[in-house]
């Protein structure tokens, strides 16, 4: 389980995250929802220790962040981090050198799943295929938790469908996923839990099936209440 407890983050005098708490369980898909600038990416950066926090705790399986946690969690940012002149195959080698948890068989599996070509250079890929290659680099790691930042943004609907298919496939299996997205419609039926952020804090977090069952509301209904109400 990833636990974020009372996290505070300031940029200068501006408090961007104020007392943010939520949990993400293994085997579940947790979606961070919020309008632009609400701090979704900052939360992910903080979980990966890419940005210092000014208060609160982040625990992964009960442990504070340390160098070993990087073999437990993978972060798939919204833009590919591999060098653009690399071929996909070379980027895979790079990842394999860098991480103990790299799973070559799964990486090759994903090449087929996404119909990518290992000999293509990253800077020649379309936006959709770049996003897929980016997902490949992250998901091929044998880690318990996957963080995905906006995997759907700016991508055509067929590629989006293909990416959404990842969530019901063996590529995710029993891992814990934290995802941020604007295109909630694409994954509305795929997520277990939604965490709604507003003004730098958690407005509401809920089990989406429970919400439908007890209140007869969709995620978008609740979003309207929060952001337009």
């Amino acid at each position: 389980m990833i636990e974020v407890k009372n996290m505070v983050k300031k940029f200068g005098f501006k408090k961007v995250l104020d007392d943010v708490s939520f949990t993400a369980e293994k085997g579940q898909i947790t979606c961070l929802i919020g309008v632009n600038g609400v701090g979704k990416t900052t939360i992910m950066n903080a979980i990966m220790n890419l940005t210092p926090i000014n208060g609160g705790d982040i625990l992964i399986d009960g442990q504070k962040l340390n160098k070993h946690t990087y073999e437990k969690v993978t972060f798939i940012p919204d833009a590919i981090t591999m060098l653009p002149q690399m071929k996909i195959g070379e980027a895979m080698e790079f990842m394999s050198d860098f991480y103990d948890s790299w799973n070559e068989a799964r990486a090759n599996d994903m090449i087929d799943f996404f119909r990518l070509n290992k000999n293509d250079r990253i800077n020649t890929l379309s936006k959709g295929n770049t996003a897929k290659a980016n997902l490949l680099m992250g998901l091929a790691l044998d880690v318990d938790y996957v963080l995905m930042d906006e995997p759907f943004s700016g991508i055509d609907m067929f590629s989006r469908e293909q990416i959404a298919n990842v969530f019901t496939s063996h590529l995710i299996e029993d891992r814990g996923v934290i995802i941020t997205t604007h295109e909630i419609q694409d994954i509305e039926h795929l997520i277990d839990k939604a965490v709604l952020l507003d003004n730098g804090t958690v407005y509401r977090s809920f089990d989406v099936e429970e919400l439908r069952e007890n209140e007869g509301k969709s995620i978008v209904d609740v979003m309207r209440e929060v952001y337009q109400g």
């Binding site: 039926h189 795929l190 099936e209 509301k217």
Partner: protein
């Protein structure tokens, strides 16, 4: 297979409704093997935990049977299947009555219209093959 889920009803209930319809209409036969939970999640593009919950619920209702290490199968219990069929008919009739009630049509007139349409629906099905 594409199944359009609505966003306000629990997805697991929509999955159960789908299976009930398939059972009631005989598309799924008694004793027939059904896809695994993961396959269903994949087919319907839904959360695997939700598929799991739907299957668990269907087992509790006696709609499907799962023996260890074997695929789940549709029940052979005629009374369960009969019950599902009745439930489906009653639900559909209730929906119809709810929709037509505010219009205030005399019952005889309504029943005639229903008979006409009902027969017509069969004709249309046959006719569709010609064009």
């Amino acid at each position: 297979m594409q199944l359009k889920f609505n966003t306000r009803d629990p997805v697991y209930m929509q999955v159960i409704r789908y299976f009930k319809t398939q059972i009631a209409t005989g598309v799924l036969e008694p004793g027939e093997e059904i896809p695994s939970r993961r396959e269903i999640a994949n087919m319907f593009k839904i959360n695997p935990n939700t598929a799991q919950r739907a299957y668990k619920e269907m087992e509790e209702q006696g709609l499907i049977r799962t023996e260890r290490n074997f695929p789940s199968k549709i029940t052979r219990d005629e009374s369960v299947i009969q019950h599902v069929r009745e439930e489906l008919v009653v639900t559909a009739v209730n929906d119809f009555v709810d929709a037509i009630k505010p219009v205030n049509v005399p019952l005889d007139e309504l029943l005639d219209l229903v008979k006409q349409k009902y027969a017509g629906a069969d004709d249309q099905k046959g006719g569709a093959l010609d064009d």
